[in-house]
């Protein structure tokens, strides 16, 4: 197998979190491209902006928003870990533990955020209990 033309990072540990950091970064970048375009519709007419925002409120896109929040949250937390490795003198020694801290923060925050984000969709799809 041929190696890619000179990757900047070679390593064993932390390789998977590096891959995830890269994938989430690219994902957010492409979202931002679409997002600036959809926000620009406020300069066209209130109606066209409202129409694009209505798609954000549909169940399927709602689910993709959960994914986007997951991508941003992971990228942010792992980015802080990368900075700690770079700037904190004990950073390299604790990089593995910090990976677990990232996950320990990520999971409960995502559970809470997901609950809030999909509860409306749930009520819409299956009828609100109250």
């Amino acid at each position: 197998m041929q190696a890619p033309a000179g990757t900047l990072y070679r390593g064993r540990e932390g390789m998977w979190s590096w891959v995830a950091h890269r994938v989430t970064g690219v994902l957010i970048f492409f979202f931002l491209f679409a997002h600036v375009l959809d926000t620009a519709l406020v300069r066209v007419s209130p109606d066209s902006y409202n129409r694009i925002m209505d798609t954000y409120k549909t169940p399927l896109v709602n689910l993709m928003e959960v994914g986007l929040v997951g991508a941003v949250l992971f990228h942010a937390l792992n980015g802080l870990r990368v900075m700690a490795i770079d700037f904190w003198e004990k950073g390299t020694r604790y990089q593995k533990q910090m990976t677990w801290v990232v996950l320990a923060v990520f999971v409960p925050v995502m559970v809470g955020a997901t609950y809030r984000m999909v509860s409306h969709t749930f009520a819409q799809l299956f009828g609100s209990a109250s």
């Binding site: 890619p4 690219v26 375009l37 066209v44 209130p46 809030r116």
Partner: protein, 147 residues
């Protein structure tokens, strides 16, 4: 001038370099561009933690989340210079941070010089247009627009 992955004494035989050996720089410009880019990624990242996570919290978790967003909602927010400044900073920092991130990724994976060049041209052109459009939208926003 050495070629990556090819031994100098036996040019046809690919070698595996020692772990963490310095990557031969593709070009030597004499400036510290890569170092400034490295620092920028960290400084912008730190600010983006507050800006983007705050933005997502307001847009998706507060009150009725995404369900309450419409033209009137944006008009209400952009009536305040605080949120216009927030969005402008978020636009520039996220777009530049993401563009530099993609530049690094293109350098990593695009093997042919031509491919690399054109991918980066596409990246820089689209980034420029996104920054221009996003900035104009914030500065020229008109709550009374009729459409």
């Amino acid at each position: 001038m050495t070629t990556i992955g090819v031994s100098a004494d036996a040019p046809s035989r690919p070698v595996i370099e020692a772990p963490r050996s310095r990557r031969p720089s593709a070009r030597r410009t004499g400036t510290n561009f890569e170092m400034y880019a490295w620092i920028f990624m960290r400084m912008s990242g730190l600010l983006l933690v507050f800006l983007v996570l705050g933005h997502l919290f307001i847009m998706l978790l507060l009150d009725d989340g995404v369900q309450r967003i419409n033209f009137g909602f944006v008009a209400g927010r952009w009536a305040s210079p605080f949120w216009r400044t927030w969005d402008l900073a978020q636009l520039w920092l996220a777009q530049l941070h993401g563009t530099n991130g993609l530049r690094v990724i293109i350098n990593d994976y695009a093997e042919r010089d031509g491919t690399r060049f054109w991918l980066k041209m596409l990246l820089y052109t689209s980034s420029f247009l996104v920054l221009l459009l996003g900035t104009l939208v914030i500065f020229t926003f008109d709550p009374e627009i009729s459409g």
